[in-house]
Symmetry: C2
Subunit: 400 residues, 2 copies
Amino acid sequence: MVKIAVLGYGTIGSGVVEVLETNRDIIAKRAGEEISVKYILDLRDFPGDPHEELVVHDYKMIRNDPEVDIVVEAMGGVEPAFTFAKQAILAGKHFATSNKALIAKHGAELIAMAQERSLNCLYEASVGGGIPIIRPLNSCLTADVIEEISGILNGTTNYMMTKMSEEGSDFDDVLKDAQKKGFAEADPTADIEGYDACRKIAILTSLVCARQVDFEDIHTEGITKITAADIRYAKAMGKRIKLLGCSYRIGDQYCAIVAPYLLDEGNPLFGVNGVFNAIFVRGNMLGDAMFYGSGAGKLPTASAVVGDIVDIVRHKHVSITMEWKPDKVELADYRNLRNRYFVRTTADAAAIEAAFGEVSYVQAEGMDDELAFLTEEMDGYAYEAAAGKLDGILQCIRVR
Amino acid sequence: MVKIAVLGYGTIGSGVVEVLETNRDIIAKRAGEEISVKYILDLRDFPGDPHEELVVHDYKMIRNDPEVDIVVEAMGGVEPAFTFAKQAILAGKHFATSNKALIAKHGAELIAMAQERSLNCLYEASVGGGIPIIRPLNSCLTADVIEEISGILNGTTNYMMTKMSEEGSDFDDVLKDAQKKGFAEADPTADIEGYDACRKIAILTSLVCARQVDFEDIHTEGITKITAADIRYAKAMGKRIKLLGCSYRIGDQYCAIVAPYLLDEGNPLFGVNGVFNAIFVRGNMLGDAMFYGSGAGKLPTASAVVGDIVDIVRHKHVSITMEWKPDKVELADYRNLRNRYFVRTTADAAAIEAAFGEVSYVQAEGMDDELAFLTEEMDGYAYEAAAGKLDGILQCIRVR
């Protein structure tokens, strides 16, 4: 019998308890032992909850209880999660978390602490919710130099982009709808500004580099500037706009960016709609692969956390190999990335061509007061130089 | 330094050697040790090949050499692969293979033999080529009861279906084109009759059941009866025809089938075209997930084999947990599966409705000599009963 403590009894934490109960027998069979929740840490009480009696308010009870083998953190945020994680590992306990903010900031450090003690620190649910991606990167794609890892990493913004595309609605209306349906939070900043996707691509890039990528170093643009007019043009081109987190290998460096991109139908991410997420990986031997699924949600995310718990039970006395050292990676400047750009402007064709040379014009119904065009493929420096020569730019979206 | 022997120096075997060479440094870093090929077993000689001197013709040299830690089998076929695998494991060597025929037939037995000796028998490349699916099923989706696992498991037939759909060409022409391009073999039977997909869904279903599913028990239909007319109807309905291998949980049983299906745009498998493969998984907690990538090809498949080799080097003294016992699963009759059917017939509407009740007629250009319709959802028994009452059925394709 393995005993665990769940920190945080919100959506994910209660989901973990629910998954462990619903699939108790099959999980015990796969883990080789029964798994039982001994404590639930939360500031709140839960009168009437079937697990009411497991709720404690003082983390010391968990930390000091030698019966607790695994601490499962589902509180979110860097603190006090980080302090609790360190204390758990120092007390000889394994650690599993769904917390991308914690792992993006302190993943390498926690992994090193755990490995020094033959313990495990697992975090499958921190990226892509229920989608298996961390473990495949760690233990499947080990024969490849990863040339690219890119993904639709945020369900809220993908739901919004899908709605805007399906209904031609404006950003603000779609945001209100998403909030009403519970797909966006009251304060949606972290999602719509790309901060959430940024932390996730930082984690994935760290795994690909085997070293620490600081999320603050990643150029991040959200979707707040995307309009119904952009969607109309996208449709006219047979493309869709998606918020992507991308990492590319350029020479010996990696380069990461979070931004909206125009994708065409041939791209495997094109068909990923609604709250679904997907992560595209290109290896130098493997070629293209993609992992698709529910990027968020109580039970899918909890399923990934419980998958980590099972893996820990299977590796109680040995650390699972994980290459993520705390030394910092210097990312290449994102302006080194080459792509075409979609640009809308109030300037005339002569001014456009004076700035950008040859371009492909794009037409969409009812957009008579402006011109829109696709540039040739160019890097970010060249784009900025050309754009500096053109007045009246209304919009610019990268194309891949 | 870990020493391996590669059995079979054909496409996959030479790919394994190439991947190990191309990515030597990063693979050594991830495995924790250098990996070196000591022998290549083949009946042929390879004069002028850079690895000419590693080629041997007698398996006994490999089996009896205590320096060989891992035997990597890439010969294909059940024998002599099975005999060599058993001898390797009995000699205390780990075993990795890309051979679906071997694993579908003897996987459980080889795994049991390896586990009794704290060895590993891995076979990631046997399903889905480069797509990580075996390891994710074994070590990621462990919190879920798997309700469904279905996939486009054969690149040849998916290439053919895609070509037929894009060009409106006939089956025979597309087959010739695929053979010319090297996407189909001179004897294409195993692909086009669904036998290859059948072995792969048998392996996946075994893993889901944790017991042995015999591929002979799986109802298997190929794509040889699919015509340009069917494709025309599919397009008129906004659907695509794909050869799928499917397993569904029905009560406490599983039910498996290989057959062409009509998919609509909302299905994640809809956009999987050309030689790509994808495997869809539905868990009772996870919801929907999909794994996409190159289902075949020298380097993608070899990448998966080398991923297994790395995993073995990381687990030299311990068996990786794998639930696949040799006792046999009794599958439920595939006629229990419920779906709509697309039917083409020379009969008239009165006869159709007398047999099937209410149906939805489907029209496609130039198909004036027949009627086509979609049934309501029904199980296979009900379909057979109704179809028995209708003369002149030209075609029947399942819809999902």
